[in-house]
Symmetry: C2
Subunit: 358 residues, 2 copies
DNA sequence: GTTAGCAGTCAAAGCATAAGAGTGCTAACA
DNA sequence: TGTTAGCACTCTTATGCTTTGACTGCTAAC
């Protein structure tokens, strides 16, 4: 994107920032006299009108109709966000809530994703979507197959960030000990492989297996089948978890249920969300209004950050709100969550050697 | 409730049923001429007006204002529902969807509850609430403690209807084998006890333990601590899982987001929901309008059924909609879900002896 | 008991008017 | 050249009034 823009005078910048801030708070168009009160007691409203007019001509503001106040454009919000970044005040109450969630952390990856979405949504008062991105890139650390009384068995795969769990049908004729031995064998073979590698290489592996452990092949085949359905399920519904969708109704711009429903529908549509979340986002980033590649969301904004392990995005977290959303508060929440996530990961790695001893 | 009511003439009954049915479909007040079209081509509208007038006097119908059509009262809906019960047409499409959910059933109780709520809500198009009621009355069949690499351990308790799982802190100094032995001991001791019994009797049990297995007491204490937090958590948020809250916006009576939000708030309030779900409901039952003991829901209806094991309600399922909801379809869905649940239970019991052999 | 017919009622829609909030523009001033 | 006062202009919103049409209630006759 070329920087051909004539840069704004100091005063215009200040006026624009005040205007956007005011609109974010009040949700009603900014008037020249409001700016006068907030920022420039020494200037007359007429002067400010001239400035506002200029800002409008440059595309930072727009009017809904002649004789109405101004409203920021996507470009206006973008300016505001850019000049705000790096200066994000952390909201203590929000941080506390999030921290508490991580304290009583769940070990199951699936559950964790839901809790993260819930807690962010609660803290920010906006709908939050979490998309598992590189699920199959997770690194296997330990595999356990646990036969149940119901004729099923539980597969527990510890990875470098949380446990993946699924159930499979178990065969009554196979003794319990075989499941334990099979688990150990799987762990030894695929420790430090990714989940997708395990799924891919398993058939080859089964073929080459020593004849003495051939009896495990049934188990392994079932494990892979179960993992395949799990990943299929995830890719089908896109690994998307949305929470707090209703909070959208709190904001005046979506108090019309029709509008709100339209957006909420998009939130559960894997294809659209995938498009929005396609680019990785190591830092907190914003997609503002027209920058969002989905038609229905063109008057929303999305705050995003990825949870990354070894530079790879495992999950994308996104907060959806009106363009007029409280960027500072939201950035603060997101930043903190991703940070806590990183802590968790450190914890997992710390204990890694411990596990190897067995 | 005394049956002091003068009973309705055949014709009045028929008119009332037609009226309620029509209102459920169209959501607009019933007029005398609508009834004439649907039911009584041979009668004049004037006659029907007389009848409607009588039904209003008896409290089955009411007018929003003079010169408007009639709308059923709670009493009117109640009459409709009572005369409909026992004659519930099963909606094939709905049943199919529910059945598919049960096919790929989850083994975790917590997850299962969420899925049930989702699938019913999707099938009926109304918000659905599931409340775990007698969670601690579940009968323990098998206990497994599984140490993880992260310095935590997973507690898996198989019960007579699903797995309860929670994590606990594990002690690095305790060898893996001890966890396995401790699990077996727990299973042997508490098999066929309820969860609450286990929590209650554990301290006594630890005291009386042979000195040779005294080393397990640390493990057992941690297990109980973890189970306590789990049950505390559940009772705190009341074991309530709501899904599809948004569907409320689909119905014209709650297209006002304020109204909808008010109701949705109640759905996540454990105290209010507990009150609504207080009475056990072995069969599908309805609470209609004024019959609901919560002020905010007095113009809703709730369809309910319990999932019971050995005559005890384990979970209550409730579907919330406007009084004008499609009782037949909803009853069909509920009935079917509870039935499939019962099948699951049968499956679990079938395999029971299998598990004992180890 | 049933019915035709007519008067009466009320909600909803349409229209005109008035009020009010802001801007744009011009002309004058520093 | 930047700033300002002042006034005309625009457009939204609120309000009241009127009309329309859908129903019912009631009466009198069958």
């Amino acid at each position: 994107m070329p920087e051909e823009e004539i840069k704004l005078s100091e005063r215009k910048q200040k006026i624009l920032l005040v205007a956007v801030e005011d609109y974010i708070q009040k949700a009603s168009p900014i008037t020249s006299s409001a700016i006068q009160h907030k920022y420039a007691k020494s200037l007359s409203t007429a002067t400010l009108r001239n400035e506002l007019n200029a800002l409008e001509a440059m595309g930072y503001l727009k009017q809904l109709h002649t004789s109405s106040g101004r409203v920021p454009t996507s470009k206006g919000y973008r300016f505001y966000v850019n000049s705000m970044m790096g200066d994000i005040p952390l909201d203590k109450k929000v941080l506390n809530e999030i921290h508490q969630m991580f304290e009583k952390r769940t070990v199951y990856l699936g559950e964790m994703v839901g809790e993260i979405a819930s807690v962010i949504s609660k803290a920010t008062n906006y709908p939050t979507v979490v998309m598992l991105k590189g699920f199959e890139k997770l690194v296997i650390k330990n595999v356990k197959i646990i036969p149940l009384l119901t004729g099923q068995a539980l597969i527990l795969i510890e990875t470098n960030s949380g446990i993946i769990s699924n159930s499979m049908e178990s065969d009554e004729k196979i003794p319990q000990q075989s499941y334990i031995d099979a688990s150990n064998l799987l762990t030894k073979t695929f420790c430090n492989s990714t989940v997708s590698d395990m799924i891919k290489n398993m058939p080859k592996y089964i073929e080459k297996m020593d004849s003495e452990v051939k009896e495990f092949s049934t188990i392994f085949t079932t494990v892979i089948k179960s993992l395949r359905t799990l990943t299929d399920n995830l890719t089908q519904k896109g690994g998307i978890t949305a929470r707090g969708e209703l909070k959208l109704l709190n904001t005046p711009e979506y108090s019309d249920p029709q509008k709100a429903k339209q957006i909420i529908n998009v939130l559960s549509n894997p294809n659209e969300i995938k498009e929005v979340f396609s680019e990785d986002s190591a830092e907190v980033s914003f997609q503002i209004g027209s920058e969002i590649p989905v038609e229905e969301l063109k008057d929303c904004s999305i705050a995003r950050a990825d949870y990354q392990v070894d530079g790879k995005s495992i999950a994308s977290i996104g907060i959806i709100g009106p363009q007029r959303m409280d960027y500072a508060k939201i950035a603060s929440a997101l930043k903190f969550v991703v940070g806590e996530f990183q802590n968790l990961k450190a914890l997992t790695h710390k204990e890694e050697k411990e596990g190897d001893k067995k």
